[in-house]
């Protein structure tokens, strides 16, 4: 037999084929503890599964681990279903995990605890996010299954306690794989309607699996983001779901939720009556108080002895009138006196003497004027007479009286020279007492001019 050397690859492939053809290794159920757990960021999970004696490397690919209902952790006891094969590149056999669930504690419980932790850290259950419930809701939304005890309990309780309220059922599935989506949609629908004052979300009792939808992150978030206050009512008092933690108020049962949602009409009636009685008492009290004040006022001095008050006032009035009169008199006297003074002053300063003087002056002046005027006139008269006499002496007409005459041409010019007239000219001749119209019949010139004195 020829010695043949195998390559590592060939050997590894041989071993892998051996393992892969072993039907016992194809599907194995394994129980162990997780260690060296690593969740690669591409989604695959790497870990070691061990017991007290030994260990095996294991991988759970993303395609498988996304169905996990819990997050694996070191030290966790798990039940695994998978197969064994060889990872050629490392030359290692390893366990390929198809599915895995926690051993010991129930899988659901673990998932519940983990989600609760996560949401708690994120603040979903914080008190400051809890919305107050309206004291008198007008419209109540009930999000639950339309059949079963829960819806009946809620509706009958509300109707009994507070029949004024309108109830609207938004039906949902409350168990099964699609229940959580259904509950979430119902909460969102109610918020879209903007008409609800409060919502009751819940279902009747059941196994933990049946209540599971109310632990779903989808439902928790829908409750958290609801603008309408939500009362949770899931199962019985002992069942606490994550929906209960996140709700604005947790009711132990559906009936309890209805009681928390609405006030009791009976109690409200009692309250109304109490308020009414209080009103009556308050008004009585008020009136009594005013009565007391009124009585006190009535008994006051002024009201009991009004005549005293009158007398006093009368007296005061008289005094005032007196004062007034006094003042009046005083002031009128004063006015009169000052009037007299003024009148005297006026009289004193009346300009009579100036008048008399002026009149005297006037008379004197007038007399002088008269005298002067008369004298002047006489003087003038005398000189006029003189003048007239003189004039009389010079008057050519006077000459005429002495027998001279004056001849005039037709155009009334005194004829002084012969050449002024022609023969047969008409001339006028003035004599002392008439004007004669004559004709020049003859002209006989004289050499010696006797009339040298032209002016006469």
């Amino acid at each position: 037999m020829i010695e043949r050397y195998l390559t590592v690859t060939a050997l590894t492939r041989y071993i892998k084929r051996k393992l892969d053809t072993d039907k016992h290794l194809r599907t194995i159920w394994l129980k162990g503890e997780i260690s060296n757990f690593k969740h690669h960021n591409r989604g695959h999970m790497y870990m070691t599964i061990k017991d007290q004696q030994t260990r095996i490397r294991a991988v759970m690919f993303a395609g498988n681990n996304r169905f996990l209902k819990f997050m694996p952790e070191d030290g966790m006891q798990v039940l695994i279903k998978g197969e064994v094969s060889v990872f050629e590149a490392a030359g290692q056999y390893q366990l390929y995990i198809h599915s895995m669930e926690p051993d010991g504690v129930g899988e659901l419980y673990l998932a519940y605890e983990q989600l609760k932790n996560k949401l708690e850290i994120k603040g979903y259950f914080n008190k400051e996010y809890k919305k107050p419930l309206p004291p008198y809701p007008k419209h109540i939304g009930v999000i639950t299954s339309p059949t079963g005890a829960a819806v009946r309990d809620i509706i009958t309780t509300i109707k009994r306690r507070y029949p004024i309220a309108q109830i609207t059922l938004i039906p949902t599935l409350v168990q099964g794989p699609t229940a959580s989506e259904s509950i979430k949609r119902a909460i969102e629908l109610a918020n879209k309607q903007k008409d609800f004052d409060v919502l009751i979300v819940g279902r009747g009792g059941g196994s933990i699996e049946e209540l599971w939808s109310f632990n779903d992150e989808v439902v928790v978030k829908a409750i958290f983001h609801s603008n309408i206050p939500i009362i949770s009512a899931v199962g019985h008092e002992t069942d606490t779901t994550l929906a209960d933690f996140v709700a604005d108020l947790r009711a132990p049962t559906p009936t309890g939720a209805a009681e928390l949602a609405v006030p009791s009409s009976k109690q409200l009636l009692e309250k109304t009556n109490a308020l009414k009685n209080q009103l009556n008492q308050l008004l009585d009290h008020q009136i009594t108080q005013y009565q007391t004040v009124l009585n006190r006022l009535k008994n006051a001095y002024a009201f009991r002895y009004p005549e005293h008050l009158m007398r006093q006032k009368e007296q005061e009035l008289d005094k005032l009138i007196e004062q007034l009169n006094k003042l009046n008199l005083q002031s009128s006297q004063q006015i009169q006196q000052s009037f007299i003074q003024l009148e005297n002053r006026l009289r004193r300063s009346f300009p009579k003497r100036q008048f008399e003087q002026a009149i005297n002056n006037y008379v004197t002046l007038n007399n002088r004027l008269q005298k002067l005027m008369t004298k002047y006139m006489e003087d003038k008269k005398e000189s006029l007479h003189i003048m007239i006499d003189k004039l009389m002496l010079l008057n050519p007409l006077g000459v005429l009286k002495r027998g001279f005459s004056v001849a005039y041409t037709k155009d009334n010019k005194i004829i002084k020279k012969s050449e002024q007239v022609e023969l047969n000219d008409q001339i006028s001749v003035r004599i002392s007492d008439a004007l004669l119209t004559c004709q020049v019949l003859n002209k006989e010139e004289e050499k010696n001019d006797i009339g040298k004195r032209d002016d006469f």
Binding site: T272, L275, L279, Q286
Partner: protein, 76 residues
């Protein structure tokens, strides 16, 4: 003023409480006190009426489109 029909129970109750509070504080003028009293009595009547004379409200069921229909509770 809001009429009785428009006034919700909550409004009436709140106003009634505030009126009682005002009267409790005292030193209210008598006219004002009477006015409050009258108003308070009216409000308490409205509250009582709303609580006692209730028209049976139909329970509704809402479909996914937000439409409502009457709903009967199934008795078993």
């Amino acid at each position: 003023m809001t009429s009785e029909k428009e006034m919700t129970f909550e409004m009436a109750m709140k106003e009634l409480e505030s009126i009682v509070e005002k009267l409790e504080q005292g030193d209210v003028e008598i006219e004002k006190a009477l006015e409050y009293y009258q108003k308070g009595m009216e409000l308490s009547k409205i509250c009582t009426n709303k609580l006692t004379h209730v028209q049976e409200k139909m329970v509704q069921i809402m479909n996914e489109q937000g439409e409502t229909l009457p709903f009967e509770v199934q008795e078993d």
